[in-house]
């Protein structure tokens, strides 16, 4: 047998003590375990939410540029036809679309008419969103067809009464979503023929949409022939800024600065990101409370342990242990207790995350893991140092006489 190194000796001694009272060891670590578990799970949940929402935006395409009336996304720009009545808000028309089509660097360009409406078919009546657009809309939104086909340029030119139906709305109206193909819908008195049903996108608005040529809305649906918004699909991400300012210049010829706004999706994304950044910090703070409670549990037990082992401290001091040796011995135990609790908590959290992933895109990241480990070890050190100091400062004579 070779003589063990100092560190090995400390670990061996700590584990020997843990083995002696397994129940107490487990209960002491439990606090930290629960703390780490809750911190990691909360972070995973926060990240999952953030990823989910980011994913929703990204499915729209990060190169999307929206021209909205009013001051844009952050202002009072929403609202469909109703929104077009906002005082001072621009009411875009076909001339604007023609003007913008002269811009270079754009791949898609479509006016957007938006209206929430009741949709009747097959004896059912369900709420949906009527969207008037041109054929570019499908490319811009990367719609994938489930059955039938998308309508095209010809239908826009002919003001055809055709519709592409979102998956959820088709599912509500018909036995099977694909059954909607060829059926007739009634929306605000207009009869529309379903030429295609799209695959599920995961976006509620898109999955409940009835997409029709914008020209078709120019009757009872949209007598003023104006558009709620104009969407531009920029060819590459790097050109978004340039296209945005060029488009703004064009529109400024007809409208005042405060009548419209250019909104980039990346802008919305960064707003969402900063909101979730704050939510994550709050979640971590809540989780940390349980970590601190766990740390106090360790301190409590370590104090009891020091009293219980006063005689052991005396013996060790008599045969040559320095104050530092005793301090290290007790610190090692509390750090190990805390660290092991943290490790078990992390493993459990990883298991739960893997399980929850089946339903919701929760995510573990390295930061969460490192923070959990770092904090649990730090707690072991912080809450371990007071009892360990008490042990180290015991007088050898008093300690060895202790019964």
């Amino acid at each position: 047998m070779k003589i063990l190194s100092g560190t090995q000796q400390l670990f061996k001694s700590a584990f020997a003590d843990f083995r002696r009272d397994k129940v107490r060891t487990a209960l002491t670590s439990l606090g930290i375990m629960i703390g780490v578990l809750s911190v990691v799970l909360l972070i995973a949940l926060g990240l999952g939410l953030k990823n989910y929402i980011e994913g929703q935006f990204e499915s729209l395409g990060a190169n999307l540029l929206m021209v909205l009336p009013g001051s844009g996304f952050t202002g009072e720009g929403g609202g469909g036809f109703g929104g077009q009545g906002i005082v001072g808000g621009a009411q875009f028309d076909e001339k604007d679309v023609r003007d913008l089509s002269r811009l270079s660097g754009i791949k898609y360009l479509t006016p957007v008419v938006f209206k929430s409406s009741l949709v009747q078919a097959n004896g059912e009546e369900k709420a949906g969103y009527v969207m008037g657009a041109n054929e570019d809309f499908f490319g811009l939104m990367s719609y994938k067809i489930l059955s039938g086909d998308l309508w095209g340029k010809t239908e826009v030119g002919n003001r055809s009464k055709v519709a592409v139906l979102g998956y959820n709305l088709a599912d509500d109206l018909f036995d099977k979503p694909a059954d909607g193909l060829g059926k007739t819908l009634r929306v605000s008195g207009i009869r529309l023929k379903v030429v295609g049903v799209i695959k599920k996108t995961g976006d509620n608005e898109q999955d409940r949409s009835v997409v029709i040529p914008y020209t078709t809305t120019f009757g009872s649906l949209n007598p003023s022939k104006t558009f709620f918004s104009i969407y531009l699909g920029v060819e590459s991400k790097d050109e978004v800024e340039a296209v945005s300012s060029a488009a703004e210049k064009i529109l400024l010829r007809r409208y005042d600065e405060d009548e419209f706004a250019m909104t980039e999706l990346s802008e919305i994304l960064s707003t969402v990101n900063s909101i979730f950044g704050i939510i994550n910090v709050v979640l971590m703070a809540i989780g940390s409370i349980s970590l601190i409670v766990g740390g106090i549990g360790i301190m409590n037990i370590m104090y009891a342990t020091v009293t219980e082992r006063t005689r052991e401290v005396g013996i060790r001091r008599a045969i040559g242990a320095t104050k530092r040796d005793i301090l290290l011995q007790f610190m090692t135990e509390s750090v190990l207790l805390s660290f092991l609790g943290g490790a078990v908590g992390l493993l459990l959290a990883a298991g739960i995350v893997l399980l929850v992933r089946i339903w919701f895109p929760v995510a573990l990241n390295l930061t969460a893991v490192l923070v959990a480990f770092g904090v649990s070890s730090a707690i072991g050190i912080f809450f371990g140092v007071f009892p360990a100091k008490k042990a180290a400062d015991l007088s050898p004579i008093e300690a060895i006489r202790y019964e």
């Binding site: 020997a16 060790r316 008599a318 320095t322 040796d325 060895i400």
Partner: protein, 232 residues
């Protein structure tokens, strides 16, 4: 055997304790004591005589209020905690009345425990030395057992082996037979005698049993904090 060199000397050592009522109790009064290398001494005295305090001074477990403790020509009474701990580790081996073994460690691990606190490179293999000592004391077959599973006499042998593992200059035994029956106690004193004669190890025992004290070659009697007799 040369007996000229001193192992440890106390020079006018006084120890005072502050009592709860604010008064001062003098446990040791200007004690002068010189222990030569290879001596086998017994410190005797009734309880409260100061013999335990004297042992704590010799064992470097406590510091004198006044006076010096000289080891190998150096006053060690003013050293800091670290230096004193190293000296306890290397210079002295303790044997206690209560054996004071750690029941969570095996017998061999108990014997090796002082070597885990040493700051110097040992010139021998500690494991080999532990087995040699266990063999010499007839406890080698118990090396992987735990102390509370063996007899009192065997536990005290483990404690003596632990005291010897660092090859100390001095063995300090505090009532080594106090927890043992007469026969086993005699065996432990036989062991001390043998170690002293054959290996030349300096031994100091604190005891109140006259029969045990008489086995030593020097008897130091303490009463009321003073040495009242010193017979060789």
């Amino acid at each position: 055997m040369k007996e000229t060199r001193s192992t440890i000397s106390l020079n006018k050592v006084t120890k005072e304790f502050l009592l709860g009522d604010g008064s001062v109790f003098t446990a040791l009064k200007e004690i002068n004591l010189d222990i030569k290398e290879g001596e086998f001494s017994a410190i005797t005295g009734p309880s409260g005589s100061g013999k335990s305090t004297l042992m704590h001074m010799i064992g470097l477990l406590d510091r004198p209020t006044r006076g010096g403790v000289i080891i190998n020509g150096r006053d060690v009474s003013k050293l800091d905690d670290n230096a004193t701990s190293f000296l306890r580790n290397e210079f002295v081996g303790f044997v206690f009345q209560q054996f004071n073994l750690l029941n969570k460690l095996t017998i061999k691990e108990n014997i090796l425990l002082p070597t885990t606190y040493t700051r110097k490179r040992l010139s021998y293999d500690p494991s080999e030395r532990a087995e040699y000592l266990m063999d010499m004391f007839g406890i080698l077959s118990k090396k992987d057992q735990y102390p509370n599973k063996v007899s009192g006499g065997q536990q005290q042998r483990v404690a003596v082996a632990r005291a010897l593992i660092m090859r100390p200059q001095l063995i300090l035994a505090d009532e080594p037979t106090g927890n043992l029956d007469h026969k086993t106690g005699t065996e432990i004193i036989d062991l001390f005698e043998e170690l002293n004669k054959k290996e030349g190890i300096t031994i100091i025992m604190v005891t109140h049993e006259m029969e045990v004290a008489e086995r030593a070659r020097r008897q130091i009697r303490v009463l009321d904090g003073e040495i009242v007799s010193d017979k060789k």
